[in-house]
């Protein structure tokens, strides 16, 4: 089953239903399907085995995803925020390909061997052309739907492979066909080169919920688009949510049409989600945990879970505000120790998942086990009720004197300190303890005394979880999806330690 069938089905059953809009332009499902066929005729005629997409969000993203499926050429969206040389390397790796490129981005990737270029304006004119829309398309049965380059924070970007059966299995088993109300609209602000940007298109179309594209995220533009389009659903990454709330506060407005707000893609600071729930009490909050390699979401903390946790005086229930919820019923999830044994409930280990949506594969190598289990490289644990707590990348877990310490837990405690605007906790090598805990702080105003901060942690967590090394900075390094780059901070501190040692 190809992802394009998802659109064919909804267009067949509800051709007049609103499908995609960006700014003033609007397509219903029937015209979206016709446009996808028009685009497919163009992509079919062009040389190249893949479809590279380099551009901002907009209706052309949805159309290119389905058109690529129709012609059996994998869709390869690229990150336009990369530096020119890094971007050119990814285009080179994608050859031979046809590349749909925003007109103003073309000079950045021009004249690369094996690439046929189509500017976005030409692409848009082509898919609107009725002659193209009527062209017969050959029947294809391609396997690979999407190639997504990982952000490459730990090395060269890897191309994650998502096959049609992974994506369609995720959509068909988790989303009701045309299950959305006619007036529902989903604001998509995650970029097209992120797995959430792909899954938003597929689940949005299959559920019949209109996709409203925000070309590029700013909190002001997000709020404007949400109000103007009476947006009912949206997905944000944690760094976006706090900034959106700031705009709502500054304007003194709410979002009366918003029904559900999901978040994921990184750790949500507890104070931010609590503020959001208090500020938008009518909204259903959903925390979704997933990876590119798992075709998006594998665990969900639903609206009722949020409300119960928020209202509970039981610390174990209250704590679930920081959990990613329960695994989807359509897949299996286990926590294992380094030897591969399943650990008892409540103990930390590596999160493993298995299921039809789990790809676990890169173009360069397959990382999924023969029996279908995929090691996520994320550390986490399950509570007695089966709620999953994610502690961060396995490489980020601090092992101090044999004790596993989650940097996120310490960060959550310190984030509530009034003098701290932002912070990062990570491990640095230590001869005596294996690792010691380092903390880099962005202060709100005058930097507080580190002894006060240490006392703050000690009063709320064990003394073994109190950072040993403190440092103040003006800002922290994040990648463009809002993921904190702990490794960069760690390398800085290690380099400084080496300098001190050799001085």
């Amino acid at each position: 089953m190809q992802t394009s069938l998802l659109l064919e089905m909804t267009a067949d059953a509800a051709p007049d239903r609103a499908a995609v809009s960006d700014g003033d332009r609007r397509l219903d499902l029937g015209r979206l399907a016709a446009s996808a066929r028009g685009a497919a005729a163009t992509l079919q005629a062009a040389e190249g085995e893949r479809v590279v997409f380099l551009g901002l969000n907009g209706e052309a993203v949805s159309i290119a995803i389905f058109a690529s499926a129709l012609v059996g050429k994998p869709f390869v969206p690229l990150n336009y925020r990369l530096a020119d040389d890094a971007l050119r390397r990814l285009v080179e790796r994608s050859a031979p390909a046809v590349a749909v490129v925003d007109d103003n981005m073309l000079p950045r990737v021009s004249a690369i061997a094996g690439i046929t270029y189509i500017t976005r304006s030409v692409f848009e004119a082509a898919y609107r052309d009725p002659t193209n829309q009527r062209q017969e398309l050959p029947v294809v049965d391609a396997d690979i739907a999407v190639l997504l380059f990982t952000s490459g924070t730990t090395g060269d970007p890897k191309a994650a492979v998502l096959r049609h059966h992974h994506l369609t299995s995720y959509v068909v088993s988790t989303v009701d066909f045309l299950g959305a109300e006619e007036d529902e609209a989903s604001l998509v602000s995650v970029p097209p080169y992120h797995i959430a940007g792909i899954s938003a298109v597929l689940t949005g179309i299959y559920s019949g919920r209109q996709i409203v594209y925000l070309p590029s995220f700013t909190p002001e533009a997000w709020v404007d688009a949400a109000v103007a389009n009476k947006v009912t659903h949206a997905m944000v990454v944690p760094t976006m949510l706090g900034r959106i709330l700031d705009v709502l506060d500054a304007r003194g407005i709410g979002l009366p049409h918003l029904k559900a707000l999901s978040y994921g893609g990184g750790r949500m600071p507890l104070p931010v989600i609590e503020r959001a729930m208090a500020r938008l009490p009518h909204v259903d909050f959903v925390n979704a945990y997933g990876l590119t390699e798992t075709s998006s979401t594998v665990a969900v903390l639903g609206p009722d879970d949020h409300r119960q946790a928020m209202a509970s005086s039981d610390p174990a229930v209250r704590r679930r505000m920081g959990s990613v919820g329960r695994p989807l019923p359509t897949l299996e999830l286990e926590i294992r120790d380094p030897e591969g044994r399943v650990v008892p409930t409540g103990e930390s280990g590596e999160i493993h998942v298995r299921g039809e949506q789990v790809a676990g594969e890169y173009l360069e190598r397959k990382v999924i086990a023969e029996d279908g289990w995929f090691a996520t490289n994320d550390a986490g644990w399950l509570d007695k009720e089966g709620f999953l707590f994610v502690e961060g990348r396995l490489d980020d877990v601090i092992v101090r004197g044999g004790e596993n310490i989650s940097p996120g837990e310490i960060e959550d405690v310190l984030r509530a300190h009034p003098a701290i605007a932002d912070l990062a906790v990570f491990g640095v090598p230590d001869d005596q303890w294996g690792e010691r805990i380092a903390c880099v702080v962005v202060a709100r105003g005058t930097p507080p005394a580190t002894a006060d901060l240490a006392d703050w942690v000690k009063a709320r967590l064990r003394s073994t979880k109190t950072p040993d090394v403190w440092e103040f900075r003006a800002e922290l390094p994040y990648n463009d999806m809002g993921k904190l780059l702990r490794r960069v901070l760690r390398d800085d501190i290690l380099a400084r330690d080496r300098e001190t040692a050799s001085a």
Binding site: M1, V172, G179, A196, G290, T297
Partner: protein
């Protein structure tokens, strides 16, 4: 008949089309309206008629399962013709919708 996940099929007696979501654990005969399903691009068979006793409507987007074999089908085009696997009637799968996370 091998019902691979993702493979597409059509009714021999009407407009209905199907996708295999989950394959059966055992081999068996899959029918709609009393007639064997055809592969999606097969020509329409002459003379295949709908069994009036097996004329349930099949709505697009609905999933049907047989618990004994584990087969699960998605209706990708609407039509008429009760689904059976080795003469057991497939039952409508009540979708357990998850909160929207995308």
């Amino acid at each position: 008949m091998e019902f691979k996940p993702g493979s597409r099929w059509r009714s021999a007696v009407g407009s209905a089309e199907f996708v295999v979501v989950r394959p059966p654990r055992t081999a068996g005969v899959l029918r709609s309206g009393g007639q064997n399903l055809l592969v999606i691009d097969a020509p329409v068979a002459d003379g295949a008629t709908l069994d009036p006793a097996l004329a349930d409507a099949l709505a697009i987007g609905k999933r049907y399962t047989d618990s004994e074999s584990g087969i699960e089908l998605l209706v990708s085009k609407a039509g008429v013709g009760t689904l059976t696997f080795d003469d057991r009637t497939l039952v409508l799968k009540e979708a357990k919708q998850l909160p929207s996370s995308d």
